[in-house]
Symmetry: C2
Subunit: 322 residues, 2 copies
């Protein structure tokens, strides 16, 4: 019988559930709204129901070997989602334990950016790399750090929070309560705020000035830039600048071969990547210059998080069988 796993990619808005084989092929996939479930236990039951439904749809007989999950503030060690500011559930949600109990197969859970990093390492832009950092830019800025071919978890499971490293001490207020975190400049909200500042200061016309700032999406901004809107172009350049500056600082810790950027903003292409690459190189310590690559995700249309979550449980199953 063919062996498969379920991968689950939890986002603040949507959750994607997939059935994947060992090679990373998706045999079936469903999306539910994360926000439809204010009760975490009901959400877990809904995930299990979707997994059973997807398995039932398959033409061939399969055996479910395990479940892998990528979630905001997911803790690999505890299998729980802990104090996630962008999810409805407060405190600690022991999601992996609940799903193990319900499905009677092993379940592992990690941070969503960690899952995406694993996906890129096995199937995407980081194939063959042993040292890299994945940066995912969405509502916030997440990061997954890989050293010697392994994800870093740290002593408590929470390593890799570059979004909350400071880039402007005393700068913009962050959802974490502090000031100047990278994600207050480089995230959907941060980019919108930079655009707002540019619109106020600029004497140039912009189509974006006609849209209420709160309704503006990252997509609106990079599409306007593609059409030649100068304010949008400068917003992306400034975002790239500040991201490059902090990535250069990050190199001092784990000295990665590359940064892989994912999230909707990666569609902005060279309008973001060009300034970011120049800023990264400019701010690097001399011994690192000319060595560090900046790349877009290769899985942006394929869901690196889902593929990584599935890869994570395959890895855990392999350890058990050693």
């Amino acid at each position: 019988m063919k062996e498969v796993v379920a991968g689950i990619d939890i986002g603040g808005t949507n959750t994607v559930i997939g059935i994947l084989d060992r090679a990373g092929n998706t045999l079936g996939e469903e999306t539910i709204s994360t926000r439809d479930f204010p009760d975490a236990l009901e959400y877990a039951q809904a995930l299990c129901a979707k997994i059973r439904m997807l398995l039932g749809f398959l033409q061939e007989e399969v055996e479910l070997k395990g479940v892998g999950i990528g979630a905001p503030n997911g803790n690999f060690y505890s299998g729980s989602i802990e104090q996630a500011p962008n999810l409805l559930w407060k405190g600690t949600v022991p999601l992996a334990r609940w799903i193990e109990a319900e499905m009677q197969v092993p379940c592992v859970l990690t941070n969503d950016a960690n899952a995406a990093a694993l996906g890129e390492m096995l199937f995407g832009a980081a194939r063959g790399m042993k040292h890299f950092v994945l940066i995912t830019i969405g509502t916030g800025l997440g990061s997954g750090i890989v050293v010697d071919g392994k994800l870093i978890y740290g002593h408590d499971g929470f390593a890799g929070e570059i979004g909350h490293a400071l880039v402007r001490p005393g700068g913009r207020i962050c959802t974490c309560g502090r000031r100047g975190c990278l994600e207050t400049y480089v995230s959907a909200r941060g980019i919108r705020e930079t655009l707002g500042e540019m619109l106020i200061e600029s004497s140039q016309e912009s189509q974006l000035a006609t849209i209420p700032l709160r309704e503006l999406t990252v997509k609106d901004i990079h599409q306007a830039a593609d059409r030649g809107d100068q304010v949008a172009i400068r917003t992306l350049a400034e975002t790239g600048n500040i991201l490059g500056e902090k990535l250069a600082d990050s190199v001092n810790y784990t000295s990665p071969e590359a940064f892989i950027i994912t999230g909707g903003i990666a569609h902005a292409g060279e309008l973001l990547f060009g300034p970011c690459r120049a800023s990264l190189e400019h701010h690097l310590l001399n011994i690192y210059r000319g060595k560090v690559k900046l790349m877009a995700s290769e899985l942006i249309e394929r869901n690196a998080g889902l593929m990584g979550a599935a890869a994570l449980i395959w890895e855990e199953l392999a350890k058990v069988n050693l």
Copy 2:
């Protein structure tokens, strides 16, 4: 026959050469002046001569199994010292290869802070820890980062340069040519500069005002502080503050259980550690609060770098024998 290794701890001023057994006991030790050797090859020959001399002094018959070296800008992958700003030799010095050729035993080399981190992990304050960061404060600020019980080297061998991470963008000029690096504030030179600023701004009397600033040592400053000199006390507190701020930022990368501080400044005790601990805790992201320890080296009188360099070659020898 008893098996021993040679450990070498290279500093900008002095080099310590020791013969150590497997348990980390030093059977013999010699110090030479690093600056006496403008020619790197002559320096390597002097090291080999000292190793032979120390072996000759031992009462019992021993077998030299290998040589381990900790050096500023030491690269584990290449076995070379590369572009070290605080040493006389320019460019790349293939020290490990030279010593292997001369002594006919394996030789490994790493960054001096990495060697000290290994020493603390095996014999000092980090015993039993799997995730910690060693910070060594001397002429500059070095760091060795341990994740899952292993030193991080990164893709090029240069991971762990926290001294060159930015703490004050646009701030003091660094020897690396950039501005605002941590070591421009937290190092012998940085502390002296902070003291100078305090002396200028302060209306308080200080015994230190009678000593030319360039001649002041870190020891002078912490000894004055111990005697109650208010300017010296405030200098140590400000140094602790800014170090704590950047250590909090560092937690976002590898989430260590502890920071271990070494170098002469560690003698300053709670006058430095108290403000540093408070600042670290204050600046941490909420998920890390109350979890990260700040500790002094336990090997400050025993040379963690030498013990770590010896431990490094024992580790490499064990790998070869697997």
